[in-house]
Amino acid sequence: MSPTLEPSAGTRTGTDAVFPLIFERSRPGRRAWSLPETNGGSAELDRLIPSSHRRTTAPALPEVSELDLVRHYTRLSQRNWAIDVGAYPLGSCSMKYNPKLAESAAAHEGFASLHPFADDELVQGALELLGTLERALCEATGMARITFQPAAGAQGELTGLLIMRAFHAANDDPRSKVIIPDSAHGTNPASVSLAGYRAEEVRSDDRGLVDLDALKEALDTDTAGLMLTNPNTLGLFERDIREIAAAVHAVGGLLYYDGANFNSIVGVVRPGDMGFDIVHMNLHKTFATPHGGGGPGSGPLAVSDRLERFLPAPVLVPPRHAGDVWRWDHDRPESIGRIHSFHGNFGINVRAYAYLRSLGPDGLRRVAERAVLNANYLRVLIEDSFPTAYPGACMHEFVASAKHLRKHGIRGMDVAKRLIDLGYHPPTVYFPLVVEEALMVEPTETESKETIDDLARCLNQIAAEARTDPDLLHAAPVSTPVRRPDEAKAARELKLRWSPR
């Protein structure tokens, strides 16, 4: 029996009821807040802050009781899918189980209540945690040093690209372009632009892999580097990686590893051994930290020896002698500079550390094995209904296509919406762009065989329904609080906030 997003009696709003905004629950004079009395009251405030700086119109924040507040956000949360609710095979997002033990670990006062400007001596437990996590992640990636400042993968990308810039600048060899495959995540070209480089795309070949000849043609002494996701967004391992690395290095470029898909190879093969110089990880993917409805993540960036000097300052230094402490080294003259307000998403790194310590070396390798096993098992179970764009085995995810259903008037999104009614979060739809009617499926390693069997049964059923009852798919979903919101209207008639007027 699969889970469904069937609102409980308390949350069902009916077909015509509107779920109120918190502002619409507001009644003047009602309150949830509880704060101490002010010393001296508002007269004292008038004395201290001149009227030229005083707000004359209060912001129209809601006035609700605490119970109103609790019910509102509890019910809102119930209008949401989540890993804890059911399977979430969203390709490229690694929506695996987020262990509860990591949450309780991060809740310790000794992590959660640390001020970022506290002296190093006072945060030794936190620094040791980061130091141990750094060593473990360096070992897993085959890199030398790490910065934890990047808050998410895209910030890691920018950090890595700025390090790439600094490296070429230090060699007095500024370059202008970075090569990315056409299957890359959108963040790659966006980060390339932000770093002041020009993104140049190379096409994928008929294997779904980087076209080696096209790459060699694109590479020149103006190439700062190549950004590569391996396995790529099609779920395929770039098997020519050694040739690719050699070709990039031959023109003096650097190899950047986008760690979005690191989950599939952790403990099996290391980016450093493949020839990569710079690696970001998405700890919210591979290391199981909760995705928070779209964030926070954590995107630590790892580099090889020759790039260490360019890392954002400060860099963590372990105790070298008896009596030493862990400390931050701010004296980094060649550093690209700071990339985050403080030390990155520390609370997320605590969770990743707890996960890592829970799994150990064998557990990590099993993660990759079972992620790849689950993906291939599902791929085979649905291949008659949804063939993959590129034949053969996949890694932790695969990209199937719904293009053969178009003749029945069915698109990939219709398949996705129908799957919602059958109790699953849909795969990523219409990405990567190189596949028509793409359905990018990543079951992750924490889903059981029964869940995958049932998911496959549902997908196969949908493919059959597309032929026999396409209107069923067009009408889907019917089990959700809203269905098929009008996105064109949202973009055309902008309503981006509630307004009191």
Binding site: S77, C93, F117, D119, L122, R484, L494, L496, R497
Partner: protein, 446 residues
Amino acid sequence: MDFLPHTDADVAEMLAAVDLEELDGLFAAIPAGLILDRPLDVPAALSEVELAAHMSELAGRSVAAAAVCFAGGGAYDHHVPAAVSALASRAEFATSYTPYQPELSQGVLQAVFEFQSLVCEIYGLDVANASLYDGANSLVEGVNLAVRATRRDRVLVSKGVHPHYRQVLKTYTSGLGLRIEELDFGEDGTLDAGSFDATEAAAVVVAYPNFFGRLEEVEAIAARAHEAGALVVCVADPSAMGILRSPGDMGADVAVGEGQSMGNLLSYGGPYVGLFATRLDLVRQVPGRIAGETVDADGRRAFVLTLQAREQHIRRAKATSNVCTNQTLMAIAAAVHLSWLGPQGLARLGEICVTRTALAAARLAAIPGCEVAFEGPHFKEFVLRTPVDARSLCRALAKRGFLAGPALGIWYPSLADSMVIAVTERRTEQDIEAFAEAIEKELAER
């Protein structure tokens, strides 16, 4: 403990289904020479019981958590209401992802829409996004918006803006060739609107309150900037917005800020949440995700991610920003906290901060050799000049159970004897008195 559900029988059946004899066959695409021939050299697996003890031990060696916190500088020891923690940590929010499927994400989408509305209200502007990484990141994105909107590359930044934010701005934009100039503050710790020339500037960046807790004359600065066609990016503390004028009201074109003060834990600097709001006419230049209201197929109100053509997954190299994953869960916490406070609570919070800060400033300035560095109104921080090196004084105070600072010498050499003192609603008069006595004792023993 590895959280994997597979029984041996499952593995055998699944391998057979994919036509493999052993698990290693799953990695056949990887060149054999690359495959690691040993286990990773990482610490051995722990049971949950052992891990709990280990985490507890590590946390116990971070003693800063036990100190009474008068430290500020962009991260503050505010109270997080119990209802906020309970609601923002609900697994339905925490273990969901980017709301790409609106039917399954109305909870996050509506919460984000409410967050955007709240940010617009406190900042006095028209549109806000779904959050950015932190205050520094929001400042950078604000500057980048101004650069795009004005097609200029000169950026003026007040030295009253958080030094880390200014460093991040330099790092972030180092590849873009912006001309960033820093503006000195006057004797009262604020920027004199007559002291700069914004000709050909894309943006003038100020903070309200600034890094010294002082209130900039944003209105005059904005007028000066606008005369020259520059936009104003104002870093504003959300906790001040119940009593202080909003950036929008003072003429700022973009308001950005650190949302940690609203419902988020100190957590050694993150995860925090970057706030970002601007005028409606600049909406197509906004970075990151935006939730918008629409109707569904049955005419019901519904929320979706909108204006996605600005974003990296559509626009790729020409996107307004590279941001993808943001800080949604922290934004939800901020929304819940602001809703818990309401207008009166937010005003009360500001009142407490201002009055207790004034109390602390008066008490500490009465210590021989100490004085408040900058005259004039302060919000929840002030700079204390001391008769000694402030860095060593901060360290010594930590040993006496008080966090203070940051000491300012590393960023402002002329203020090597000075440190930031922050006073939130959690600090009582007794705390202030004990803190003052600790400073007195420390100074007396030197």
